[in-house]
Each structure stands twice: as C-alpha cells, then as structure tokens.
C-alpha cells in the first residue's frame, strides 16, 4: 500500500518568494537551473528537449540553457519583464522572481524584488565582489529585504579552496555591513556541478553549514509587521447601509475592538466600535495584512490617506522627508521640481528641495554633493518638502509606512525610504533605531554598531531580539557618545535587560546579558543587603 497517498498532502504553505541577484555571469541562471533540476521541477519532456538542442549544437548540457529555454521571449527578442517560476522543497513552495539582466534591469529588479521575502546574492568565487554585486546588495537594503544568503559560486574552478571562500565572504560581509545588511548564511557552492545547492557536497568537508535549499527553508515568509506599532492607512470611506465604514489594510501591529485611536495628520480621536470582515459583522481584532472595515464610536470626518494608530503611539505628521531614493525615470529627477508623492494610502505633492548626495550607481561611491539631477538608475539621498502634512514613519521603525514612491506624469518613477522626518510644527521627531534591524552577524558573536548615531534617539527591539538575549546569545553594542548610551539605558531599564559596560577612549562597549548577575543576586538575597 502506498502510505504517502493516505497521508494528508503537503499544505498550501505560503510560498517563499526569492530573488537571485549578483554580478553578470556570476551564475544566476545556472543557479536557478540547478534549483529547478535538483528539485525535480522540470518536466521530463522539457529536459529532453534541451538535451537534444544542446546535442544538436555540439555543446554539453548546460543548466543555464534551461532558463533560456523556459523563456519563449528569448527567441522573440521581447524585452523581458519580471517572470516568476516555481519549485518546491519538502517543506514549502518557492517562487523565483527573476529579472534577467539587460538595459531595463533596474526597473524590473525593483518591481520583482520589492515583492521578495528573501534574496540570494551570488558571487563568483574567482572574481569576488564586483560592481553589480554591490549595487544589487544596496537595492536589497533599500527594499528592506533582510533575509539574505551569500552564495559563493564556481568554487569547483578553485578546487573548493577554503581560503578563497573565506576571502570572498569577508569582502562581501564587510560591504553588506557598511550598508546595514546582514547575511544569515554564507554558502560555498558550484551551481554548475550541484555542490551545496540541493545536495550536500563532499568536496567542501571544511563546511558544515546548510545547503542553499536548507538555508531557504530556514527563512520565514511571515514578516515582522505584526510586532511593529499598529497602523491602518485609511483607503476609503464607504457610506452605505446607514453606516460609515473606514476601510483599509492593517499594515502593522494589531488593532482591537474598543481601542482608542487617533488619525494622523488630522489628529482626530475616537474609539473602535466594530471591526468588520464580511460576511462577519464583528471580529475582535485584526493584525497586519488584514483588510477590514472599521466603525467608530463617533462620526468623525476622516479622509482617505489618513493613518489610524493607537492614541499614544502615532506616526509623525510630516512635511519634510529625508530619504534614500532610487530613480527609474528616463527623464532625470531634478532639484527644485515637484513630483507626486505616495505613501501608505496618502497622496501629496513634493518638491525636491535638495539632492544632498548623488551616488555612483555602480560603485555606490559619492559622486556629487548637492547635485542638480539624479539620472536613470541612480540612487541618492534627497530632501522633500510636502505641500501638506502626511502621516509617515521612518523606514527603520516601520517599513510599511516608511517607504514611498515618486510619481511623474501619473507613472511611478522612483522608490524611496524615509530616513528621517520633520513634523508639521517644525520639530523633528525623536529618531527611533531598531536594534534587531542593526544586528550584524560576526564569527565571534553579534554586534550592533551605533557609533555613527548621534542626537536625540530612542532605541527599540522586537521580541526575537529580547529572546536572543534571554537565550544567552552574545550580543555587543558600541556607542560613540553619551546621548546614544543614555537612550540605551532607557531601553534596558524598560525591558529589564541586564548588561555589562566598559568605557574606552573612543566610546563605549556594552555586552548584553550577564549570566553572573543571577548568582550575585542569590548571594545578596540571603545576606545583609547592600
């Protein structure tokens, strides 16, 4: 009897959406082909067809051709938009969002990668980190993709040399840290020969970590949005059936029936009377990702675009936005010009007050300060002035309300993330830094480096960060000055976080968690006290 037929089928697990990026010819297509091939995602007739083609042309069977063959567009010479293809592991399904490299690459990569849950950054083991490696990594950081695998490819060509792998990963990790990105896995592979992609290689005996597929299986499609402050941008107001429903999607946190709420930027206040999800008239709560209708206890006048938030944990009503931006318009972005600005469900008109930094799109080095223009495919830091206040968070605090698009002539031309904001009354809100978002993995432990931070700060961390401390993981923090350290003290006080502290010439080291503390307490509990 076939037992597997009697077992429940694998569930419709949420598929994990992954994007594969890296320098041209570092092996993106081959890796995709290998993942398909080794997970059995290729229909037998298709494989035979490719083998025949290769044979006819007198070439060995190459995985990269597989991807080519899967794209009818190749033959058609149609410019390829993002295409999506699927494979499965024993754990779940995967969607590869693939944007093949060509002139329109940035636009397509951004469109594709903006939907991705995780990324594989592929680096040629011989060539090491190159321009596009850096550029693509930077876009991942701008898109807020924090689940990253670095795959060092083509190691068969260097005899699976560990020294070469270490050198390339050190280089890549160093660059990623400099842009605030952390790779969770560093994996030595040969996509062409299949080492450590789906099958564990016997040629990397010095490596004990996961294969690519195992690493992907360890990622989670669930975002951390639920742990962030509750926000619901109002998408529309429906006045039907003698009811006034404020509809929208809860973008972060959880809203509950009975919660007192405030709308930004108007500042209007009410309380949630009912949360509707048809055909259900009243659900007790709604978490991030859920589209709902809200009914309030008062008939308040709220416009689409406003953000509903808890009374005492609101986004800023911003008029000035400092942001990182990538520009995809054929016409350059110009300082002094106005563009449409869309964030959450709000629209505004934004003047580009300054292009503070224009970065070289290839090397990401500073090209120009206070530039007049940002060209197609370039990235920069800009300042926008809005024609009316709009509710927004910093990207670090809450990605869903900290990212925006710029629109020119009705079409999205740029994507940006909010670095900091100025309020309608001219004040600057306190900057919130998320410790979990700044955690850098390092062989000797984990580090949050805040030496570049100054000014009025507030620290925050999610539950997983606190759990790591409780679990005894080694996490160190570095500060340059007294004020950030003061912000840290507030945070540690609030969350009962033990730590040890060391002052040095150039700043402060803090080590979180203090195992010796418990024994100290036990010692003094029975004693005379201090």
């Amino acid at each position: 009897m076939d037992i597997s037929a009697a077992m429940p089928k694998p569930p419709a697990e949420p598929a994990l959406r992954i994007v594969i990026v890296g320098h041209v010819d570092h092996g993106k297509s081959t890796l995709i082909g290998r993942l398909f091939f080794d997970t059995g995602a290729i229909p037998a007739e298709r494989q035979a067809e490719i083998e025949r083609t290769c044979q006819a042309q007198g070439r060995p069977f190459e995985l990269a051709y597989l991807m080519d063959a899967l794209e009818e567009e190749r033959e058609q010479n149609v410019t390829i938009e993002t295409t999506q293809t699927r494979f499965r592991s024993s754990r779940r399904g995967y969607v590869i969002i693939d944007a093949p490299g060509h002139r329109e690459f940035l636009k397509n990569m951004v469109t594709g990668a903006s939907e991705a849950d995780a990324a594989i950054l592929i680096v040629d083991g011989e060539e090491g980190v190159r321009e596009q490696t850096r550029r693509h990594a930077y876009i991942l950081s701008l898109l807020g993709i924090s689940q990253v695998v670095i795959a060092v490819n083509k190691l068969d060509r260097v005899g699976f040399d560990r020294g070469r792998f270490d050198a390339v990963t050190a280089d890549a990790v160093h660059f990623l840290h400099s842009i605030g990105l952390t790779a969770q896995f560093l994996i030595p592979i040969s996509a062409r020969e299949g080492d450590n992609v789906v099958r564990r290689s016997e040629r990397t005996h010095w490596y004990s970590g996961p294969t690519i597929l195992e690493a992907l299986d360890a990622f989670s499609p669930a975002t951390l949005d639920r742990l962030r402050p509750p926000r619901m941008p109002v998408q529309d107001v429906y006045r039907w059936d003698d009811r006034r429903r404020y509809v929208g999607r809860v973008e972060s946190g959880t809203l509950r029936r009975g919660d007192p709420v405030r709308f930004l930027p108007s500042g209007r206040v009410s309380r949630i009377r009912a949360i509707e999800r048809w055909p259900d008239d009243g659900v007790p709560q709604a978490s991030a990702g859920t589209c709902v209708g809200i009914m309030l206890e008062d008939e308040v006048y709220v416009e689409p675009g406003e953000v509903m938030a808890p009374l005492h944990d609101c986004p800023a009503a911003a008029v000035e936005v400092h942001a990182s931006l990538f520009w995809m318009g054929r016409e350059p972005l110009e300082a002094g010009r106005r563009y449409g600005f869309k964030i959450g469900t709000a629209d505004a008109s934004a003047e580009v007050v300054a292009i503070e930094e224009r970065l070289d799109p290839a090397s990401l080095e500073l090209k120009e300060r206070y530039a007049q223009k940002l060209l197609e495919s370039e990235v920069g830091r800009i300042v926008l002035h809005l024609d009316h206040p709009v509710a927004a968070d910093s990207f670090e605090l809450n990605p869903k309300l900290g990212r925006f698009v710029l629109v020119d002539q009705g079409v999205v031309r740029g994507g940006g993330i909010v670095r900091s904001l100025s309020l309608a009354d001219g004040a600057r809100p306190r900057r919130v830094i998320r410790l979990d978002g700044r955690l850098l993995a390092d062989p000797s432990g984990m580090l949050v480096d805040l030496r570049n931070e100054s000014g009025d700060l507030e620290l925050a961390a999610d539950e997983t960060f606190l759990a790591r401390i409780r679990a005894g993981e080694r996490i160190a923090l570095r500060f340059a000055g007294m004020r950030p350290f003061g912000a840290f003290l507030n945070w540690a006080w609030e969350h009962f976080v033990p730590f040890s502290f060391r002052r040095e010439q150039e700043g402060v080291w803090v080590s979180l968690g203090a195992p010796e503390y418990a024994s100290l307490r036990d010692h003094y509990q029975d004693g005379p006290g201090i």
């Binding site: 569930p11 993002t82 999506q84 999607r249 990702g289 859920t290 589209c291 698009v405 629109v407 994507g415």
Partner: protein, 282 residues
C-alpha cells in the same frame, strides 16, 4: 520533534487558512484601490471559476454588494449550462449584468471556421471594445492569473490599454509596494487584475473553503469534465471522474497537463496568445 497525524493536519489547515487569507487580502486591497481611483468601473465575468471566485472576493471587499456592473461577453457559442448558471448567480447576488455581443460580426457569419484568431478577435476582443466604448468604462477588472500562460505572467496589476486597445508590454512602468499606477489619460482604459497572484490550485482551494458556487461543467458527468471554460467549438472536455471540488484538487495534484490544454486558440500557432493579448484580448 515529530507531530501526530491530527496535529499535522491541524497545522496544514492553519497554514492553508493563513495562505488563502493573504491572497484574499491582497485582492481586496486591489479592488478597493481601483474603486477609490476610478470612476466608471466594470468587471468582466466569463462565468468561469476564476472570475466567479474573484466576484466572491469583490463582495467581501464591498461588504456584500458589488458596486459596479458585471460584463459578460456572449459569443453565442457558449454552453447553455453557463448561461443558466450566470443568470441564477446574477439574481441571487443582485448583480447588475451587462451582456455584450458583436452582433454585426455574428450576422456576417463569424465563427471559428473563419479562423480562430479572427474569431476570438471579433467575438471577444471587439465585443468587449464595443462595450467599453458604449459605457465609457475607465477600468475593467479581469480574472487572469500569472500562472495561466506566458504572456499573462508579464502582466502588471494595473495595466493600461490605449485607444486602439494595444498593450505595450515592452515598456511597462514599475509597480512596487502596492503603489499602483492609476493616473492615465482619457484615451486609455485600464485593465485591473485582482487575482493575478493566484494559481489554479489556489482558486480551487479557495472555492472549497468559501463554498463558492461554480459552473457545473467543471464537475465530471461520470466520464469527462471541463478544466477551463470557453466556447463550445474551441473547448474540449477531458476524461475525468472528478465530481467534487476535493476530487478536482486531488486530480490537479497529480496532473502535469497545462490548464488551458483544452483551449484551441492557445495552440493555433506560436505566440498566438501573446498576439491576441497585445491586441486587447483578455
């Protein structure tokens, strides 16, 4: 750690629920965004499972009502069972139904014998165009999915067509973070694709969970059933005994035949769908 069979099936159920919720939420968001941004919307309802499931989500988005008309393009070659199903649902769900037909082409004897490409273009694409012109629709909801067929994989959620109905798939604007391109000139109408991100399996799982009524032709008469509904001359049923949604899902788990294998227009000649679609076909 290993789970007992009952724990496993409980976990599977919970994961499936979360997964379908996520698909549904995204579709509701798109519906509401379109409703907010466009005057004069309509939904194309092919009577098939996809657009019927999509219609169900529309009712969720708008709290039980459907605040725009449904358009059915009747080529006169549809199976009578489809029309009966259409009228029953329209009555029960209180839909505003508009039926479009290219009468002129039909009077001229248009049919698949004149060529499938010509027939699809005249009886579907042109009939839709006449409908859009007559009512001045600015946005049309369509139940296409990326996994159906190659040219649909390249679609955006909001996808403009110019006056001549042309789709410029080579230069589409970026679409990111659910900030859709919704401002277009007066000479365009916009195709809106609320279930673009669903798969065939997703649709059936959702139909099962929500108990959505679907056209009886999808279920086996004992020996055969339809997997995709079209016009009688160009659509063939395939051998199947699947008589319930559960049996259909089990069958789909096993099959490697493409969904539209029974749709003749897809096989007429290479890239016919891409050509049809660039001219405005759905």
């Amino acid at each position: 750690m290993s789970l007992s069979p009952s724990q496993t099936s409980e976990l599977h159920e919970r994961l499936e629920a979360e997964y379908l919720d996520a698909l549904e939420n995204q579709t509701i968001f798109i519906f509401r965004e379109a409703y907010r941004r466009f005057e004069n919307l309509a939904m194309l309802w092919s009577i098939g499972k996809d657009s019927t499931a999509m219609l169900w989500v529309a009712r969720k988005a708008f709290f039980g009502r459907v605040p725009f008309p449904l358009v059915h393009i009747d080529t006169s070659l549809k199976h009578p069972v489809m029309l009966t199903f259409r009228d029953k649902i329209a009555r029960e769900w209180k839909l505003e139904l508009l039926v479009g037909q290219n009468k002129e082409a039909l009077a001229g004897g248009m049919g698949p014998s004149k060529g499938r490409f010509e027939c699809c273009t005249a009886l579907k694409t042109n009939a839709l165009q006449q409908m859009i012109d007559a009512h001045g629709f600015k946005g049309i909801f369509l139940g296409i999915r990326r996994d159906e067929e190659g040219s649909r994989a390249k679609e955006r959620v909001f996808s403009p067509r110019d006056r001549d109905f042309q789709w410029n798939f080579k230069d589409q604007p970026p679409e990111l973070w659910d900030q859709f391109n919704t401002a277009y000139g007066d000479d365009t109408h916009v195709r809106i694709h609320p279930i673009l991100h669903w798969t065939e399996m997703d649709i059936w799982r959702y139909i099962r969970r929500e108990r959505i009524p679907v056209c009886p032709l999808y279920f086996s008469d004992g020996t055969r059933r339809y997997r995709s509904l079209g016009c009688v001359p160009c659509n063939s049923p395939f051998p199947s005994t699947a008589g319930t949604v559960d049996e259909i899902l089990a069958e789909l788990e096993r099959t490697s035949t493409p969904e539209r294998a029974g749709r003749a227009q897809d096989h007429e000649k290479a890239y016919m769908m891409q050509k049809l679609r660039s001219l405005g076909y759905m």
